[in-house]
Amino acid sequence: MTTQPSVKTVTVTVDGVSLSVPEGTLLVEAAKQIQEDIPVYCYHTKLGPAGLCRICLVEIEKMPKLQIACNTVVTDGMVVHTASDKTMEGRRAVLEFLLLNHPLDCPICDKGGECDLQDFSMAYGQGASRKVEAKVAKPKAVDLGPTIVLDEERCIVCQRCVRFDDIITQERSLVVKDRGHRDIIATSTEEPYVSDFSGNVTELCPVGALTSKTYRFKSRPWDLNRTKTTCTQCSVGCQLYVDERYGDVLRTMSVAEDETSDGWLCDRGRYNIGFYNDPQRIASPLLRRGDEWEQIGWDDAVALWARQIREARDTTGPESIGVIGGGRLLNEEAFLLQHLFRSLGVENLDWRAGRQTVATPVFSGTYEELEAAQTILVFGVPPSQTAPVMDLRIRKAVVQRGARLVTVGPHSSGSSVTETHVRRVADIPSDAFDAERIAVVFDGIDATPMRDLHERFAELKRAGKSLIGFIPGEQPNARGAEAMGMLPRDGGRGTREVFSAAKDGGIRVLSLFGVNPALRFADGALATAALERTPFIVLSELFLTDTARFASLVLPAHGPFERDGHVLDMTGRVQRLFAAHAAPGGALSDGEMLVALADALDIEIPSPSALTARARAPEKRAMPRGEIRAAAPGGEAALRVIIRSDIFAGGGTVYHDERLEELRPRPIATLHPRTAQALGVAAGDLVDVIAGDRALRGLIVRVADAASEGTIRVVDGLPGAPANVLFDGEEVQVTKLEPAAPLAAAGAVAG
């Protein structure tokens, strides 16, 4: 790390109080030191000054005119009056102007009660308007995109949304159109506003112009119960506020001062909250009776589970028992899980249930360090679709701090910033390693590049460079699971070996916790075969997923906002979860299930306080590197499959959140025009993708110039179109595309 040059301080007097602040500080920020909040609309700490709204006018001695505090850099000896008559007159005038054309519909406005225009009007406004003409009529309830509704009349044109889209996401879709008092917010292309970060604009909007479709007309802010917790939709670990009312999670809000999220949320984290009370959510333990599910009580369910485990251990031995889970559990639960089964002599323990193989990087870094990196190397699946908020850090590093982004593998970054994209490790520009601070972002799936670069990395470390790694994997707490010991050791078998054994009838009881290998495991055919052959499968879940089709017993678990405990984010930081929503009466937390199971099996478990202490003190324990998969063999590929991640894919919480329907990816196969032509298919065709004896049925062909020739890109994790059937853990090659059978195709599209 470079040392910061010592910063000079200057002294400024604000309302008679003398403040010492670093040189270069903006007056609006300096004033916060004495809780003298200068009102702002367009200014935002993370967006910087814009000078548009003019509400932050203050009187500065020796200056003839009022000055805007947001763009005034404090200088030594500056004397500021934030409440003088002159200042107050300026504020009054600006508020009168702002309200001239702003509808006074506060009683039906979602922002009412937490609106800066309302608050500042009460504090500094004059009460009545002198305007007698009608207010300007503008479009109302504009459908801006799949997530956002815009009321142009309420807009005060602070442009925070436009600047967020420009400065933070770099996507530049929102613009101001027209001029003067007729100006409106719109998208530059007239296309819908689509962004994985769209919800942030509703929070940035100081008035009720931009609202979330999921929250419109749902509540008044003062009726909400607020809980601060950790988002566990991915491995970033963003802090967020959950606002709940009468048993419904109504919205989530970002935590401005959170160092993890930098104050932003992605739309998956923000909007995937509509599943908690979904009618399809499992509300009691379900026992399979042929093709039917029978609701049974918890005592019976746990007794059956315990009996199956005991019998298996006593007859075929602990090696015939397997446990998969942890990546969606709390640290406490993951620890309890491995403790319980290890007490029985079971070593077939693994959190891996998808394509991800490792979760703990060799050299960890913080998100702040990622932002300060000079070279960022991204291997494999881009974090924009697995850890979106982390991708904002990368964009910030590139755009605001001049970092160089190099993406390696079949995917380009999917981000909006400049990148160097190479397909092979050998093609990485060698000067990328000249930087002093290098960050490596690796999808945790195919570790071949890590192995190939092992020597290079060791060299960099020896040269004293800062080298840090991040694994934004598929499961939110995979790193926590590793740290809590939910990984095979002492001769235990990992998921792939357990499935191989199960396929041959070697596994009798398989306990699955919040995992969906039928849809997600890297080798779909192997997972399906294994699950089919295993006599007794217990699944702890929220919904009857693709994997539940193979289960004998399904146990209703607690959802993300229903838990109290700890997880590790991908950087290894301990994050706290507080329950914000009451789980359905029939559900138990995974921890409660395990306590009951331990009781039924007479296994001694640590006390709750010991468990908490353990959860807060993770050991760094990574997957043994021998587990890393070998490189895929090259060959005369007919068509190479590229599996694309999408933040709105999945068979669980998104699939059961009806309000997200528009955001869910469609079962699409993307081809380069020449590849499509060679295969004799056209855009819009319904096809079955055949790879030897495997088939992925009912995909819609999309043709895109951006696709690589000779590849077919499919989305991972879609119920009804599970791309993992094409994948056997190595690169597969599609041999042909066939027209889809009409029925199957129709089913896939509807699904």
């Binding site: 548009l52 005119k65 102007f97 305007k131 044109v157 101001v176 001029r179 003067g180 100006d183």
Partner: protein
């Protein structure tokens, strides 16, 4: 009264759009001399010594503006502002259409002086004829090797890029102009940073008016002392004044600064039509305050006009006689500024439209007595708190005529009652 013509010399007599004619008049000789004989810093000194001030409206000393550029080794840009759109101003258009080579030479000298190798000419969109004339002239200048690589055998190369605006008044504000030039929305930028530090494409930039740059060849030829010797100590040299309104001979007149306004109105512009009485003069464009009979003996220069509460601005003088309806005149200007507000910042976006609607209501006979005070109060409230000067443009004229001719405004208010707030 006989005036010495400088920038306007030859207009109407010679075809100065022809490079040969322009060269016969000594054209391009000063640029050649500058590149061959003068260091850029020497030209900056000459400009500073001449006392030349920006002729676009702000009147900022040109030499000092150039001196603000940081020596940071970054590329620099010279931008010529020909987005003339101030109500009443029509001098740059004349220069563009009749003496384009003089503008090109001025731009080239300025560009060389600030150590730049790339100049931009920003022409108001509506100036189609001027644009075409300028492009032809630029072609000739290029063919004659005044624009291009390694000029006059030196290692100095310069490029001149012409860009047409799309009709927004606000693009005459220098930072909005830079945004427009970059292909962005024509909205003024937040300052600081100023263009001298962070201008076009983020690099140090000077934006100079057409007329300002046009004087450069003449100052180089006749020396800064000559220019400084004309006018007043602080307002040196000549200025083209666009005379319009109720005068018998409207038009562009090049005058030595400091000339009494009475001379300007009565001798130069031919006075008012017979039988009319002088009521007022707006001396410096739509955003300047109206001056009256008692001000006519003031000199037409930056200090005297500012001292009287108005300004010289772009040099657009509009004369009003006793047939003037000042409510309508005010409404016309307010409507213009409200229409041209970019809408970025609150007071200008909202206040201008409010005043326009209020004046319209008064003109339609639906005004109330309190409206008159409100016009003054609101125009004052919206002044001095905007991001750029556009929002400050309404108050000067409106307030000055309400104060001088209140009876004209009250005449429109039929029923004396108080406005009802809604």
């Amino acid at each position: 009264m006989q005036l010495e013509k400088i920038l306007t010399a030859g207009i109407g007599e010679l075809d100065l759009c022809d490079i040969a004619v322009y060269r016969e008049q000594g054209g391009y000789a000063q640029f050649e001399r500058a590149v061959k004989e003068l260091q850029p810093a020497a030209i900056v000194d000459i400009a500073a010594k001449s006392g030349l001030r920006g002729r676009g409206g702000a009147g900022f000393p040109t030499g000092r503006k150039w001196q603000f550029l940081p020596n940071n080794g970054r590329p620099r840009y010279m931008v010529c502002n020909c987005d003339e759109a101030e109500p009443g101003t029509f001098k740059d258009r004349m220069l563009l259409e009749y003496t384009p080579h003089q503008i090109i030479e001025g731009i080239l000298i300025g560009t060389y002086a600030i150590g730049s190798r790339h100049a931009y000419m920003y022409i108001r969109g509506e100036f189609k004829r001027g644009y075409e004339t300028f492009m032809k002239a630029l072609e000739q200048a290029r063919a004659a090797d005044y624009v291009g690589e390694r000029l006059f055998g030196s290692d100095y190369s310069v490029e001149l890029t012409v860009h047409r605006g799309a009709g927004a008044y606000i693009c005459g504000e220098e930072t909005a102009l830079l945004n427009s030039l970059e292909g962005k929305r024509g909205e003024p930028r937040l300052k600081p940073p100023f263009p001298a530090i962070k201008g076009l494409y983020g690099e140090p930039t000077v934006v100079n008016n057409v007329e300002t740059l046009g004087y450069l060849p003449h100052i180089l030829r006749r020396g800064p002392e000559w220019f400084a010797g004309v006018g007043t100590p602080k307002s040196t040299g000549y200025k083209i004044v666009s005379m319009s309104g109720h005068v018998q001979k409207p038009g562009n007149y090049e005058i030595p600064l400091g000339l009494p306004m009475r001379t300007l109105v009565y001798d130069i512009a031919g006075g008012l039509p017979p039988g009319r009485k002088f009521m007022g003069i707006q001396p410096g464009g739509g955003s300047s305050a109206c001056l009256f009979e008692e001000h006519l003996d003031l000199g037409y220069d930056y200090e005297a006009l500012a001292g009287a509460g108005s300004m010289l601005g772009s040099g657009a003088a509009v004369v009003f006689d006793d047939t003037t309806d000042f409510v309508k005149a005010a409404h016309s200007l307010v409507r213009f500024f409200a229409h041209e507000s970019c809408g970025q910042c609150t007071p200008c976006r909202e206040g201008g439209n409010w005043l326009e609607m209020t004046l319209e209501r008064m003109l339609h006979g639906r005004g109330v007595e309190s409206d008159v005070d409100m016009l003054v109060d609101v125009s004052h409230s919206m002044t001095g708190i905007n991001l750029c000067p556009l929002g400050d443009s309404i108050e000067p004229f409106l307030a000055s005529v309400v104060k001088r001719f209140p009876e004209q405004f009250y005449a429109y208010v039929r029923t004396p009652q108080t406005a009802v707030a809604v």
